[in-house]
């Protein structure tokens, strides 16, 4: 009987589809793992956001011993500096907060503040600093003089003769969270793809079912592409949830929906293929999880998550251009905010990402094919 007489391309499509459906059904039976695969990327997104929200500004107490108009104006300048989380308190409360470690600094506006300024005399602002962490300490050291300058420019406009004339590249400012959340989405898509596809691939080895696939007279390309497709469809669940969170919960509305959908698909293919490759190589689901997280976090930090990577040091900027997250963040920043964060255009970034996707899919399939000869078991 001729059993392989079906048109090869059609047969390969059938194999791809059956493998995808098989992996989806297998994953759905392991609910705990399925939930983990969806939850971890979203958790990653939300926890990093929380980190950004709480860690960006220095909690500072301000003690106004003078309630005059200049003192109020100075308070306003501090509040608008985007550097402090201000609490206006009494001196005693401020000392207590400092003792409990709940604030970084106490800025005291002396009782003679207004009268000294009116007389054109120097006024001393007492700044008590909890300098246990240099990043926050330097924030205060930079922000207080800036607040003073800003106060002066508003309170005594004739005395400040040098003014910055700002010309913005973009029509509106973008908040730290709004910028960061887009970068976080890329790395969450990466993490979700690695976990889902890596687990699907490793499961075959763990349960010994890889033999059934290896011994089949079907194309291993079709088998691996089918597995990638299955993981892609499963991964899209967490991606949809992520988009809903970003758009409707955090309120970051994409400027280019078409780019978002096209590039999110490209990113998912890239990382799902990478996950399949990792799963095929390590062959254990327990190893896939730490490897995926361990790979995602450093890549996230070097890929321009907090600002364009090309603004960083040259070595890091060069290294990061060798991996797909850099391009992912760039095209997502364009899709959401219309930003250009790389020296290459969004179209070129898209092509580079497509190249990454194609190469990783090919390597992933070739690894499986190579595994047939090297031995599934020894």
């Amino acid at each position: 009987m001729n059993i392989l007489n079906i048109y090869p391309a059609y047969r390969s499509l059938l194999v791809i589809w059956v493998m995808a459906i098989k992996d989806i059904r297998s994953s759905l039976t392991e609910r705990a793992f399925m939930v983990t695969s969806i939850i971890i990327p979203i958790n990653f997104l939300l926890l990093f956001l929380l980190f950004a929200l709480t860690g960006g500004q220095a909690p500072t107490a301000i003690v106004l011993e003078d309630k005059g108009p200049y003192a109020q104006q100075f308070l306003s300048a501090m509040e608008h500096s985007h550097s402090f989380i201000i609490q206006q308190t009494t001196n005693t409360d401020a000392q207590n907060l400092m003792k409990k470690g709940q604030i970084v600094a106490i800025v005291t506006v002396p009782g003679s503040f207004d009268s000294l300024l009116r007389q054109g005399k120097q006024a001393q602002l007492r700044v008590v600093l909890n300098n246990l962490e240099v990043d926050f300490t330097n924030d205060i050291r930079r922000a207080v003089p800036l607040a003073i300058t800003s106060f002066y420019a508003n309170a005594f406009p004739n005395q400040v003769v040098i003014r910055a004339h700002e010309v913005d590249t973009y029509s509106h400012d973008t908040g730290y969270v709004q910028y960061l959340v887009v970068s976080l989405m890329v790395v969450s898509v990466m993490l979700g793809g690695l976990l889902q596809a890596g687990s699907n691939a490793a499961r075959e080895y763990e349960k010994g079912t890889i033999k059934e696939l290896m011994l089949a007279p079907a194309s291993l390309w079709a088998i691996q592409i089918g597995k990638i497709l299955g993981a892609l469809l499963l991964n899209s669940l967490s991606v949809v949830v992520m988009i809903i969170v970003i758009v409707f919960l955090i309120g970051v509305w994409p400027e280019h929906w078409d780019e978002l959908f096209a590039f999110v698909l490209l990113l998912m293919i890239t990382f799902v293929a990478l996950g399949s490759l990792i799963g095929t190589l390590v062959r254990r689901r327990q190893a896939v999880i730490p490897l995926s997280i361990g790979l995602s976090i450093p890549v996230f930090f070097i890929s321009g998550a907090f600002g364009p990577a090309i603004w960083g040091d040259q070595v890091t900027a060069t290294i990061t251009q060798l991996q797909p997250v850099y391009y992912g963040i760039a095209i997502f920043q364009h899709a959401f905010h219309n930003f250009t964060t790389t020296s290459t255009s969004p179209a070129i970034n898209g092509f580079i990402l497509a190249g990454f996707a194609a190469v990783i899919v090919a390597i992933s399939a070739l690894t499986l094919i190579n595994g047939r000869g090297r031995g599934v078991v020894h």
Binding site: I3, L4, K211, E212, M214, I223, R372, G375, V377
Partner: protein
């Protein structure tokens, strides 16, 4: 690409060798399995059986030597061979989280079974292994025997010419073992399929196999039909109960007969251990004993494969 028709040997192994670093798992192994026979690979744990099966099925590349399956080199014509091959690995390789029908359906797609035939074939196979009623049950709910039967059904689904069965009854109960034996015997009898099986059970090899190869430390130790092996390597023990005690002279006379390896006399019981062609020797022994004394009872114990296996491979524990 089509399923190959083969009139020559089903499997030809020529000086097949597999090394893992300094360890030689299979050492210059040569063997021919004829089409239509049930062939058993026997060996202690770690003797190289599974490594040989993996090399024959292309899952492991030989360090040197050649494996031909149905006339095709397994390395060069992998997919042609796979189309004609059904395999039941030791661990069954079933998707236990899915149901029986889905498992067979996935296999049918992977092996290119045409959609129009698929349902009928799956139904036939599930009926053959008496699992049709459980077709929508998850495989994880099956007993070990049911899983083995399902794996066998899966291996037969695409109508292969050659079947590899790696420890086909490992860990299954006696009833399931008998059922699986019957399926395997029917494969040869009714469908003329070639079966290559590995087993640790000597009783299984004896019941199923036309020929047996005993391997140890990756080398072929003995090859032949079960009867041949018993004849060549086994000892038959004849126990003769006489009316009165046998004289030492008679014992001495018997012990120097060609083919007699040992004579033990205890009261009226004479135990004679024979090797080689015991048929003519039996007659000689009876004649010599009856010339001196009356025989009350004669019993003869055939050699068994287990003794042969232990004598060829040693009785030390293996990992």
């Amino acid at each position: 690409m089509k399923q190959t028709e083969n009139t020559g040997p089903a499997i030809e192994l020529n000086r097949l060798t597999k090394r893992f670093g300094d360890f030689t798992a299979v050492d210059g192994f040569s063997l021919t399995v004829r089409s239509g026979e049930i062939f058993g690979l026997l060996g202690p744990n770690g003797s190289g059986k599974t490594t040989i099966i993996n090399m024959i099925s292309g899952l492991s590349k030989p360090t040197s030597g050649e494996a031909k399956v149905l006339g095709h080199n397994i390395i060069h014509d992998t997919r042609v061979v796979y189309a004609a091959l059904g395999s039941v690995p030791q661990e069954t390789a079933l998707y236990e989280e899915l149901d029986a029908w889905t498992n067979l359906s996935i296999h049918a797609t992977l092996y290119g079974v045409h959609r129009s035939e698929r349902d009928r074939k799956i139904t036939d196979m599930l009926n053959l292994v008496q699992l049709y009623e459980r077709r929508h049950s998850r495989v994880s709910s099956f007993s070990g025997g049911m899983k083995r039967r399902l794996a066998l059904a899966r291996a037969l689904l695409h109508d292969p010419l050659l079947l590899y069965l790696d420890e086909p009854t490992l860990g299954v109960d006696v009833q399931s073992r008998r059922a699986i034996w019957n399926y395997i015997l029917d494969l040869k009898k009714k469908e003329g399929k070639t079966v290559l099986l590995t087993t640790n059970y000597l009783e299984e090899a004896n019941a199923l196999c036309d020929r047996i190869a005993i391997i140890d430390h990756g080398k072929l130790v003995a090859l032949g039909t079960p009867i041949d092996l018993k004849r060549r390597y086994g000892d038959t023990v004849m126990e003769i109960e006489t009316a009165s005690s046998v004289s030492p002279q008679l014992s001495a006379k018997l012990s120097i007969l060609p083919g007699v390896s040992e004579v033990i006399q205890k009261d009226k019981i004479l135990k004679v251990t024979m090797s080689g062609d015991e048929l003519s020797l039996t007659g000689q022994l009876i004649t010599l004993v009856t010339q001196e004394i009356n025989i009350k009872k004669i019993s003869q114990r055939e050699p068994n494969l287990e003794e042969i296996f232990l004598s060829l491979t040693g009785s030390g524990l293996r990992d």
